[in-house]
């Protein structure tokens, strides 16, 4: 059986310079916050950015960005993502609203393929993908379908989170997928434990964000979010991604 959507997906993503999956083996480490803030920060720095919420059963980037229910993609030879805060935004919430979407693995794969096939992203400098937690269907499908995907991996300072993240790194290394590095989020102490463990894994420790109470109050308010520790982290990541030049030529 041949699934023709695969070849269309390559075409749909062909005008995107970099595709970055913000992911973690562990849930609750701040993927959606970091993915949203990174997209905002890149857009603020003048880049054409898309944000795709691939966490179908627990989407939250629309809440973080304060996107109202009346925002919808435009239908034009597929679906053209709505522009929100300068970001081309795509999510399953356009179709299911605030209702639960109880999807099993095969359904997740089919919905992911459907949205990747039908979304007309056009030209982008960056497409940020907010991944679901774990190393299940969505990760494996994106590895299979999105040839130029790169992974930005999040952990907290918790060894429990890091041990799960380690498995994800091992899997991605086995699959020969590019890993940009590991980001330590919600850091509450001054230890170098995660940085050292990351280096031992052979992966770059990119940066960290301290635990910041302001982040919770920034939900739904992108300006506040960029003013929080997550916003600072996003700025650092932005510089990391585009280099010192901070312009499109550095991509």
């Amino acid at each position: 059986m041949i699934d023709p959507r695969t070849s269309i997906i390559s075409e749909r993503l062909s005008k995107i310079r970099r595709i970055i999956a913000v992911s973690s083996g562990k849930g609750g480490v701040g993927k959606s916050m970091v993915a949203s803030a990174l997209a905002l920060s890149l857009a603020k720095n003048g880049f054409n950015v898309g944000l795709f919420d691939a966490d179908f059963t627990g989407p939250s980037t629309h809440i973080i960005l304060g996107i109202s229910n009346d925002v919808q993609p435009k239908e034009d030879k597929g679906l053209v993502p709505a522009k929100v805060w300068g970001i081309a935004y795509m999510s399953l919430v356009y179709f299911v609203g605030d209702n639960p979407a109880p999807l099993r693995g095969l359904d997740v794969s089919n919905a992911l393929i459907e949205l990747l096939s039908v979304t007309q992203w056009g030209e982008l400098d960056f497409l940020i993908i907010d991944m679901p937690p774990g190393i299940g269907d969505a990760v494996l499908d994106l590895v299979r379908l999105v040839k130029k995907i790169e992974f930005l991996i999040l952990t907290t300072s918790s060894l429990l989170a890091f041990e799960v993240v380690k498995k994800q790194v091992m899997l991605l290394c086995e699959l020969k997928m590019p890993i940009i590095g590991i980001v330590e989020n919600m850091k509450r102490d001054n230890t170098e434990t995660i940085a050292e463990k990351t280096k031992r894994l052979g992966v770059e420790y990119l940066c960290m964000a301290v635990f910041d109470q302001k982040v919770e109050t920034a939900i739904g308010d992108p300006v506040k979010l960029l003013d929080s520790a997550i916003g600072e982290l996003a700025e650092k990541l932005c510089r990391e991604l585009v280099g010192n030049k901070g312009n499109i030529d550095a991509l």
């Binding site: 023709p4 959507r5 070849s7 179709f95 609203g97 209702n99 919905a111 459907e114």
Partner: protein, 155 residues
């Protein structure tokens, strides 16, 4: 082509079960697939393509046909498209009841959502017997490229 430099024609039927998506974007993927299959099977020309449209995605055959005609070029320019319908069957994973999908009782929002992403059906439809949203789409999810009839280039 045979030894005398003549093309030897015979009908070649490819039986694939291909899942695709809706209308214009759907038409693009159908044509890309047909093109790829035609190249793989070394078809000299493609005469007829049979497409099966599942009820779940509510693809409008006339729009699909229009998009296919608009987008067909080169090898596929004169292809005849046959668009046939298929029922969608759902099976509850909790109580095992099997039923046929019907969009009749759905409002416009739900109907459009399922049209764009058929998996949205799990949000808007429940098992008619036990009320569970945990059911399987056993057939008729999207669109299948069922049959390609063409002329094979013989060596």
């Amino acid at each position: 082509m045979n030894q005398n430099g003549m093309f030897v024609q015979y009908f070649f039927i490819v039986q694939w079960c291909i899942i695709v998506m809706h209308e214009w974007a759907l038409a693009e993927s159908i044509l890309v697939s047909v093109q790829q299959i035609a190249e793989q099977e070394q078809l000299q020309s493609v005469l007829e393509v049979t497409i099966r449209v599942g009820a779940l995605q509510q693809v409008e055959p006339s729009i699909l046909r229009f998009a296919l005609k608009q987008l067909s070029t080169g090898l596929l320019k004169d292809v005849k498209f046959r668009i046939l319908s298929a029922k969608s069957t759902l099976k509850c994973r909790v109580c095992s009841i099997v039923w046929q999908y019907s969009p009749k009782k759905l409002d416009r929002t739900a109907s459009e959502a399922i049209h764009f992403v058929p998996e949205a059906v799990h949000t808007y439809i429940k098992c008619p017997k036990c009320g569970s949203p945990d059911f399987e789409i056993t057939s008729g999810r999207g669109v299948w490229l069922e049959n390609i009839r063409g002329v094979k280039l013989s060596d």
